[in-house]
């Protein structure tokens, strides 16, 4: 359980990290929280020649909330979002997703951006951030580009990242009304990757009509998936059982799981349907004005 020999630099600035990547080529790897990279190195599945540690770079820590939305720095950790009460009003899905990831030890070190860059098809952030319509900023020494997350995630453990690029920020647009979101996860035990993960996010206007909807799926495809038809079916209607059922059925169709030791394709599809339905129902209950409730 020891990695093959490797070199290590701790970057003092983002530019330095980018310069090292440009110089070293594909043998160099960014080290963020290390929660995916180090286990792979110990198993010698990954044998990078050089690690470029960015996890203390001040430029990449923390987040900013503006009128346009939320920008997460690349080294924001799972546990920070789990505890970020200030984000609950506009981005409730974040905290509700973070708490499902791994265990407190991993959450204290692992980063959201690292999770996206790693692109495990069963990772939870891909599904949640797709549901939030997020995009990512990628920087190299010579250019900066912004990609919708849907375009960034390519395939199993594969993203649009070039070897000389760093994912520097994640942007989430500000909701155009009152947002409600939740994450449902079927895992075999705590700390397990999702057998099926479902993120549901809806934004309601003052008349309780759905104006934005996001549904993201984990563990049921070669990468985190969106369920656009299901999302479209919700928009323009109040959140109620008929529409919820329809959206759930459409989301199940968007899922493209494989049969394995965690269950058959049919089983996983069904769990997607059950979870989307349960998740949206829970959001409907949450959003309902509490009439006649006394203390």
């Amino acid at each position: 359980m020891f990695p093959a020999p490797f070199g290590y630099v701790r970057a003092e600035s983002l530019d330095e990290a980018l310069a090292v990547l440009a110089r070293e080529g594909p043998g160099a790897k960014i080290l963020a929280g290390g929660q995916s990279l180090l286990p792979m190195m110990k198993l010698r599945i990954a044998e990078p020649a050089l690690l470029v540690d960015i996890h203390r770079l001040p430029a990449l820590t923390g987040w900013q909330e503006t009128a346009e939305g939320l920008t997460l720095g690349a080294v924001v950790r799972h546990s920070q979002l789990e505890r970020a009460e200030a984000l609950q009003e506009f981005y409730p899905l974040l905290g509700r997703t973070a708490r499902w990831i791994a265990d407190p030890l991993v959450r204290n070190r692992g980063t959201v951006a690292g999770s996206l860059a790693h692109a495990d098809p069963a990772g939870d952030w891909g599904a949640a951030l797709l549901a939030l319509g997020a995009s990512v900023t990628l920087r190299s020494l010579t250019r900066t580009r912004e990609l919708p997350l849907d375009a960034f995630l390519v395939d199993i453990f594969t993203t649009a990242l070039e070897p000389d690029e760093v994912l520097t920020a994640i942007r989430i647009p500000k909701p155009a009304g009152r947002p409600f979101g939740t994450y449902l996860k079927l895992e075999r035990k705590v700390g397990d990757f999702a057998v099926v993960g479902v993120a549901v996010n809806v934004v309601l206007d003052a008349r309780h009509t759905v104006v934005e909807a996001g549904i993201g799926l984990a563990g049921v495809g070669p990468r985190a998936l969106r369920a656009p038809a299901a999302e479209a079916a919700l928009i323009g209607h109040p959140l109620e059982s008929g529409g919820i059922r329809e959206a759930a059925a459409l989301a199940a169709e968007a899922a493209d799981p494989v049969s394995d030791r965690r269950g058959s394709r049919a089983y996983k599809r069904n769990v997607v349907r059950v979870f989307v339905e349960r998740g949206l129902k829970a959001l409907a209950d949450e959003s309902r004005p509490e009439v006649g409730v006394t203390a």
Partner: protein
């Protein structure tokens, strides 16, 4: 509430565990904590194939790496006659592969280097040229004519290792033919792994000048390991010192001798430097002993009103590439013949065929006294199936068939003599605790609403404490155990035993047993185990045998010491020995309780003022050969709810009533029960060492081999009845394994009970949600 160690008359009280103070502060000393001067590190090269011929091994690049001291292959060992080693089951096992490999992750070469990291780098440079062969993964296929013969070293060539049987086949078949009802079920207990948190490892420290080998090893049985080593390596036994330091869990995994151990010893002797080998998690799960892998077929007969008539069991036991079980010599299928369980069968028959496959060798008893979990699971599942067929409540079926209290000692049709039990009382306690009648009522209401709720019952009988010398030995060594007691002049005690605890709490519980007999506190008694230079010979800790054997030795040794103490007390009190009374903490003249002497006062006199003519000192040594085994038992009830959408099973309640005879420390017993139930839960719902068709292991790490955490683990409710063992000096029976033996069937029976209205009678464990969903989906009841 825990009591302090200073508590007087400690037997039966919840005394705080002595070992916790150091272990929970991280001050334990485990194998890997030990660092010796000049120590080198060993890493193993393992086979990527389950079955392959080795064409060539090239070690040159590995050996040339600076810092590498030695590379060993099977050829090197063969030259020294050490390529193979005997297993405790009487088979033999390759230390490092010669000519061919028989399971994925098999040990092929060993590399010794300055650091572990370097050893692993060098191991990656060893080039092995394999010619893959077809793998035999399914044990049924292994027995088919024309199947590849795996063990070419065996004569005659066959994949069948042994055939074992017990009971009366003809009478059983005749009784089944006459029975009004016969239920047949095929039940598989998959391959699982004990997965102790601390993996296996050792340090071999050989001093060429003295010829002495000190071997630090994660061992549940250090004396047995020393003897095996003397036999294998030809080192005189008195020149071997085996030290088993703090052991981080064993559960049977640390009973056998492993190839890495032998490689480390050979390396240390060649290099004249200490060599450490510690396996990784993956190595532990893929190569050191698994458990179970029993494919069982049962036929159970009954008359029309549910009285059982006969039991017939046929089993295929998958041992992998080598029979590396650690069963007593005469019991290749362990104590599987306890399979008639708690029920009064007039006749029974059981047979087991051991089979070689291209999988890791084993199997050990994982927290069970030699195949008792398999037996208990089978009979408790069979009783459930029988109840379903008869349309009887599973509890009523059991009450009807229990061995009644007046039949003890009870002679089972498969040859055991059960010591004691009161099964009805134990089950009734459990039913009361859980509110059985009300739960059945609730279940009827929920079923009417289409909900899936189940109630499972398991009323098991364990068989532990191997064992009496007329029946039990391992490689010829009888399975007694021992205690050597020394009372120091100030009345403090050193007790050494032949067992080796790994979390069972011996430092506390054996101190309580001895303190009780000597009128001291547990604090006054230091318990030491695990060093063969100091501890008396014993066969170690597994199979819940420590309390029935070494615990008995401790009580008897303390009584012998007390007998001598009484003579010294008579001298001090100036009365005749017959006039001395012992009140539990003091000796005093009969009728004069005010004028007494304590054990400490007597101890001082034993060294300063012994009676004329008496040998000084106050010591006692006992080798205890138990007259029989002990038969702990219990009644477990489990309530589950099944989510019709995800098919997840929620264990709503679990009541465990155990009867382990006299309880030495109720808190320690409860801890053992909690741990064992958690492992039983894991076996029922989460764990399997599975293989693909090429023999690749599909659960080589904790991402895939699922160990439950506090989050998944249900809330346990424990209680007890006490039916002492009539033949144990203090009436204790042993308990460590009962919960693992008894609980898997309770969980599964609960799930089957929930699904029974859908016509389901059996599902193979582990009960993953998707398996249940397939059933619900097929019957059209899934959400």
């Amino acid at each position: 509430m825990a009591l302090e160690l200073s508590e007087p008359r400690p037997l039966g009280k919840p005394i705080r565990r002595k070992e916790d103070a150091r272990l929970i502060r991280g001050q334990g000393r485990y194998l890997d904590d030990i660092v010796l001067p000049g120590m080198l590190h060993l890493a193993l090269v393992r086979s990527p194939y389950a079955h392959a011929r080795i064409r060539r091994i090239d070690v040159q690049r590995a050996a040339a790496l600076p810092g590498v001291h030695l590379v060993l292959t099977g050829q090197d060992l063969a030259a020294a006659g050490l390529a193979w080693m005997p297993t405790l089951a009487g088979d033999r096992q390759m230390v490092l592969a010669v000519d061919k490999v028989l399971f994925q992750y098999q040990e092929v070469a060993a590399v010794v280097a300055e650091s572990r990291a370097l050893a692993e780098d060098a191991a990656a440079l060893v080039e092995v040229d394999y010619e893959p062969l077809p793998a035999v993964v399914d044990p049924y296929r292994a027995l088919e004519p024309g199947s590849p013969i795996l063990r070419e070293d065996r004569d005659p060539p066959s994949n069948r290792i042994f055939h074992w049987e017990a009971g009366d086949r003809a009478a059983t078949e005749a009784a089944l033919a006459r029975s009004a009802v016969v239920v047949r079920e095929t039940v598989r207990m998959p391959r699982v792994h004990p997965a102790p948190l601390e993996p296996c490892g050792c340090i071999a420290d050989y001093q060429r000048a003295t010829g002495r080998l000190t071997w630090y090893v994660t061992s549940q049985a250090p004396h047995a390991h020393r003897t095996v080593l003397a036999m294998v390596a030809g080192i005189p036994e008195h020149k071997i010192r085996v030290v088993s330091p703090d052991v981080g869990g064993g559960f049977g995994n640390k009973v056998p001798v492993f190839p890495g151990y032998v490689a480390a010893i050979v390396a240390a002797m060649r290099l004249n430097r200490p060599v450490k080998w510690v396996e990784t998690r993956t190595e532990n799960l893929t190569s050191t002993n698994f458990a179970r892998d029993y494919h069982m077929t049962v036929e159970i007969g009954a008359d029309a009103d549910g009285k059982v008539t006969a039991l017939k069991v046929s089993t295929i036991a998958d041992h992998g590439a080598f029979d590396a079980a650690a069963d007593p010599t005469r019991f290749p299928a362990g104590l599987f013949s306890i399979v008639t369980g708690s029920y009064d069968f007039p006749v029974a028959f059981a047979e087991v065929d051991g089979v070689y496959t291209n999988k890791a060798p084993g199997g050990v008893a994982y927290r069970c006294s030699f195949r008792v979990t398999e037996a208990s699971f089978l009979i408790e599942r069979a009783m459930q199936s029988l109840a379903l067929r008869l349309g009887m409540d599973p509890v009523a079926l059991r009450l009807k068939n229990f061995i009644p209290p007046e039949k003890f000692p009870y002679h089972s049709p498969l040859g055991w003599t059960y010591d004691s039990g009161n099964y009805r009382a134990t089950l009734e306690r459990a039913m009361e605790r859980i509110g059985y009648a009300a739960l059945r009522q609730e279940q009827a209401e929920r079923r009417a609403r289409g909900e899936l709720m189940g109630i499972g019952v398991s009323t098991f009988t364990e068989i532990v404490g191997a064992g009496p010398s007329h029946t039990f030995d391992i490689l010829g060594i009888k399975m007694f155990d021992s205690c050597e007691l020394r009372v120091h002049p100030t009345g403090k005690v050193l007790a050494r035993l032949g067992t080796r605890h790994q979390g069972q709490g011996h430092e506390t519980t054996f101190a309580q047993v001895i303190a009780e007999e000597l009128g001291l506190t547990a604090d006054d008694v230091l318990v030491e185990e695990g060093d063969t230079d100091t501890a008396p010979y014993g066969l170690g800790t597994y199979a819940s045998r420590s309390t029935p054997t070494a615990g008995a030795a401790a009580a008897v040794a303390a009584r012998r010491v007390r007998d001598k103490a009484r003579r010294i007390a008579a001298h001090l009190l100036e009365v005749a020995e017959d006039d001395v009374e012992w009140d539990g903490t003091r000796f005093h003249p009969a009728g004069t309780p005010a004028r007494g002497v304590t054990m400490a006062e007597v101890a001082l006199a034993a060294y300063t003022n012994p009676p004329p003519g008496m040998e000084p000192g106050l010591e006692g040594t006992v080798y205890y050969d138990p007259p029989n085994l002990t038969f702990p038992n219990g009644a477990y009830l489990c309530v589950v709810d099944i989510d019709k959408g995800t098919s997840q099973v929620h264990v709503r309640r679990f009541v465990a009533v155990d009867d382990c005879g006299t309880v030495i420390n109720p808190m320690v017993v409860e801890g053992q029960i909690h741990g064992g139930l958690t492992e039983g839960f894991a076996i029922a719902f989460l764990q399997e060492i599975a293989f693909d068709e090429q023999g690749n292991c599909l659960a080589p790490n904790f991402m895939e081999y699922l160990v439950p955490t506090a989050v998944e683990t249900p809330q346990w409710e424990t209680d007890r009845t006490v039916t002492p063992s009539p033949h144990h000096p203090i009436g204790a029976k042993g308990v460590g394994e009962s919960p693992n033996v008894g609980s898997p069937a309770a969980f599964v029976n609960a799930v089957i009970d929930a699904l029974a209205p859908l016509g389901v009678t059996h599902l193979d464990i582990p009960l993953y949600p998707w398996k249940i969903w397939e059933v619900l989906h097929e019957r059209g009841v899934a959400e």
